[in-house]
């Protein structure tokens, strides 16, 4: 649906709309950026959103059981605390409602162009503008901010015969709520963060459930509780209290970095906790063996759940570890030659993270796309800027990901950085700002140095954190407050700028 506002925002057919800043995406990152701009009076910007609503990952992932692995008091904007969270860990509907609420409260929607899927974005070096073609028209922007996110585009596994499957296939991130699973033989492929939530949500209604696992995950208990009314009232009355709890949660989670990035000895108690959790919940020795990882905890994302193991051990469930040989018209055949009749296949197979599709669409000064430039691995300055791509800023870019704490903290760090860059441009009268290859190289070395010896590289697993060269190009490999310090203000020395060519433009 398009509102009158959007119709005003979108350029008329054939025309090009000029804006100062174009932001791709309206999830946590896009909304956070928009609020920052508005707060300092910047109005000349648009959010290009391919869907019909704000929310990003939290709008798209509506599968049963979808919820956040970080407490809501922490997984929310610092500038928009929410005393009304119904549970300590919120589900997708509550988080999506929160994002919509923030977008309304800070009047972000007036800047949104819905149905604007970015086809490509090219830097026009002569005009010093980004030319952004979308399904809702073309935009010319001085500054392009990609807030497209890392968990945006689902990956579909390359399994022989999957195309010929005659039942229903759906990705967890593209759930078909019209399809009733009651009594069906359902296969869930994948055992990552999405699978672990969808499996217990559907197990009670399906006829039979086969969970196809490649690598088991370490799972720790989920301390999810409803937030009592008195506490919600207390949060409203004493906002400082919620802030203090947020700080405490942040601190506790940051301790995990000690184990994951500094010294793996600190992970031992977490590993013990996960092992005890599995032993308590699964009695069957074979199933227990199948669910026990052979790598150090933390190497892949640590999952939290109290109902995943019981669901896999339910009377109608089966864990399949043999690997999939092929999919047939009405069944899945594993590598042991066992053929399981299947009505619906749920692909909980994750997202394009180390091969971000948006990178193929953004082309810099020499016409090459980010994807081409990053062929040897993603390189940036501070996860935010790329040499050869003037006036381009990435939110949730490479090496900004975190598995242990709130992504919103990282997003707010980056938003501050981008805003600092924009203000520096304005103050100096610069029309373009571009990071240097040297700065990029130095940052790459910094990341490599920090990543060395971390559990992600040395924990004995293959994960979506690592690219095909085995480099960590997704995670921030240190305490997150260090990233915040690094991105508090623009590192001006790492940038070259070009002043506006005519004096009147500088304003």
């Amino acid at each position: 649906m398009t509102s009158t506002l959007e119709t005003q925002l979108a350029p008329p057919p054939g025309a090009v709309r000029e804006v100062k800043i174009a932001i791709i995406g309206s999830g946590f990152a896009g909304i956070g950026m928009a609020v920052a701009l508005r707060e300092r009076g910047e109005q000349d910007f648009v959010l290009l959103e391919r869907a019909a609503d704000v929310g990003g990952t939290w709008r798209d992932n509506t599968y049963p059981g979808a919820a956040c692995d970080v407490q809501s008091n922490l997984y929310s904007f610092s500038f928009a605390p929410n005393p009304e969270w119904p549970r300590s860990y919120s589900g997708q509907p509550e988080i999506q409602a929160y994002l919509r609420g923030v977008a309304d409260r800070f009047d972000v929607r007036r800047h949104c162009v819905f149905g604007a899927d970015v086809l490509d974005a090219r830097w026009d070096d002569a005009a010093r503008r980004w030319q952004v073609r979308t399904t809702a028209g073309t935009f010319r922007a001085q500054v392009l901010v990609s807030a497209a996110g890392a968990l945006a585009d689902p990956t579909y596994p390359d399994i022989p015969g999957l195309d010929g499957f005659e039942g229903t296939v759906m990705h967890s991130a593209r759930w078909d709520h019209d399809h009733d699973l009651t009594g069906e033989a359902v296969a869930v492929i994948g055992t990552g963060a999405s699978a672990i939530q969808v499996v217990p949500a559907i197990q009670p209604v399906v006829g039979s459930l086969a969970v196809y696992q490649r690598t088991p995950a370490w799972v720790v208990p989920r301390t999810d509780r409803p937030v009592p009314r008195w506490r919600q009232r207390l949060y409203r009355a004493v906002p400082g209290l919620q802030k203090a709890i947020r700080g405490l949660l942040y601190l506790v989670r940051e301790f995990l970095v000690l184990g994951m990035a500094k010294n793996r000895l600190f992970l031992r108690p977490v590993g013990k906790l996960a092992r005890a959790h599995l032993h308590r919940q699964v009695r069957d020795p074979k199933l227990r063996k199948g669910l026990t990882p052979d790598y150090t905890i933390g190497c892949k994302r640590i999952l939290i759940s109290n109902d995943y193991f019981p669901a896999v051990a339910a009377p109608n469930a089966e864990l399949v570890t043999a690997g999939i040989a092929e999919v047939r018209a009405r069944s899945i055949v594993d590598r042991d030659g066992i053929e399981r009749p299947t009505g619906t296949i749920v692909l909980a197979t994750g997202f394009h993270v180390t091969d971000l599709p948006i990178a193929e669409k953004i082309c810099g000064r020499d016409g090459r796309s980010l994807a081409q430039v990053w062929d040897d691995g993603m390189v940036t300055n501070r996860g935010s800027t790329v040499a050869g791509f003037p006036n381009l800023f990435l939110l949730v870019g490479p090496n900004v990901g975190v598995g242990h704490t709130s992504m919103v903290y990282m997003i707010e760090s980056q938003v501050a950085y981008v805003d600092s860059a924009l203000q520096a441009m304005a103050a100096e009268g610069l029309e373009t700002l571009e990071t240097t290859p040297a700065a990029q190289q130095a940052y790459r070395e910094l990341i490599a140095r920090k990543s060395k010896g971390t559990v992600w590289l040395a924990g004995g697993c293959a994960s979506w954190y690592l690219d095909r060269h085995g480099h960590n190009t997704t995670l921030w490999p240190d305490f997150t407050f260090r990233f915040r310090r690094l991105t508090r203000t623009l590192d001006r020395e790492n940038y070259v700028g070009a002043p506006a060519r005519t004096s009147e433009v500088a304003a």
Partner: protein, 314 residues
């Protein structure tokens, strides 16, 4: 690639319990073979047998159904979730009937039962005799008993046990104490745990691997299942209600070193069922389906073959 079809089913029982069943083979196979496991075990106790049966399943000769008995493995307790006072082996017989109605509603069926699983079949035969000869076309009773498991009071110890726990299984009294003890102190991987399990349940030729596997399966069973079915086993007595089993071919197998259901129980069964084939296997304990999987498979496939031939003739 030749494959074996397999699916998992949670069979709903009238009281709300669910039986975890594994079905292998094609729905249109000529015969369905259903296997019932023993006390404190699970369907995994039939894994060796199932592996040997796999070529027969792949060849389309039979469909194999294994399931966890109520309160065992993944199966739930149903109406006994809070109170097990009324739990009996008759209930397990009724469960087996429901299982057949659900996963094998038509076509000939062969039943195999080990220990308490054999008693389960006897209870089904007593409660629904009309099934036997019609739907059920063969029965294998492995290391089991029709009753009279209570101590006879011949020795001082037995008399003491009778006084302390009337109507309970002699061997199980010892087993209860031992199993409880090792559960607390020793994991199945420990030497002592395995020695205790071996001495109680296995014959001379059992490998360490067999003993470990068996110990692990039992270790996965809850103390609750152990305690709940313990008196039920003592009360089991179907010696006068076996007539339905005379309608079908019966294979009786027992190990000569079986301490839980000694040889005499199988001999009594054979007396009651004159047409039955009795095999007393040397150097073999109570875990015969594991210890002599090939013998169990031979007996089961004989029954399946007869059932299929019946069908062809009919």
């Amino acid at each position: 690639m030749t494959t074996i079809r397999k699916h998992t089913a949670a069979v709903p029982l009238p009281d709300g319990a669910q039986l975890h069943a594994t079905v292998e083979g094609h729905d249109d196979a000529p015969v369905t073979l259903a296997l019932a496991h023993g006390w404190t075990l699970s369907q995994a106790a039939w894994d060796d047998v199932a592996l040997l049966l796999r070529p027969h399943v792949a060849a389309g000769e039979l469909r194999l159904v294994r399931y966890d008995q109520r309160g065992h493995g993944r199966s739930t307790w149903g109406r006994y979730a809070d109170d097990v006072a009324e739990l009996s082996i008759d209930q397990l017989g009724a469960d087996l009937g429901e299982l057949l109605d659900h996963v094998a509603p038509t076509g000939p069926v062969v039943l195999g039962g080990h220990s308490m699983g054999g008693m389960t079949i006897m209870c089904l035969a007593a409660a629904r005799p009309e099934l036997f000869g019609d739907r059920v076309r063969g029965t294998a009773l492995v290391a089991t008993s029709a009753g009279d498991l209570a101590p006879r009071g011949e020795t001082l110890l037995e008399r003491l046990q009778l006084r302390l726990a009337p109507g309970t299984v002699t061997a199980a009294i010892g087993a209860a104490r031992v199993l409880e003890g090792i559960r607390q102190a020793l994991p199945p991987s420990s030497r002592r745990h395995q020695k205790i399990v071996r001495d109680l349940l296995y014959g001379a030729d059992a490998t360490d691997e067999m003993v470990l596997t068996g110990a692990e399966i039992m270790h996965a069973t809850t103390v609750r299942a152990f305690a709940a079915f313990y008196p039920a086993l003592g009360e089991h007595d179907k010696r006068e209600e076996l007539s339905a089993l005379r309608e079908v071919p019966v294979e009786i197998l027992v190990g000569d070193s079986d301490k839980l259901t000694p040889e005499r129980h199988s001999r009594q069964l054979a007396e009651q069922l004159p047409g039955a084939r009795l095999a007393v296997v040397e150097r073999t304990g109570h875990m015969l389906p594991q210890e002599r999987a090939e013998l169990a498979v031979a007996a089961l496939t004989r029954l399946v073959g007869e059932a299929a031939a019946d069908r062809a003739a009919a």
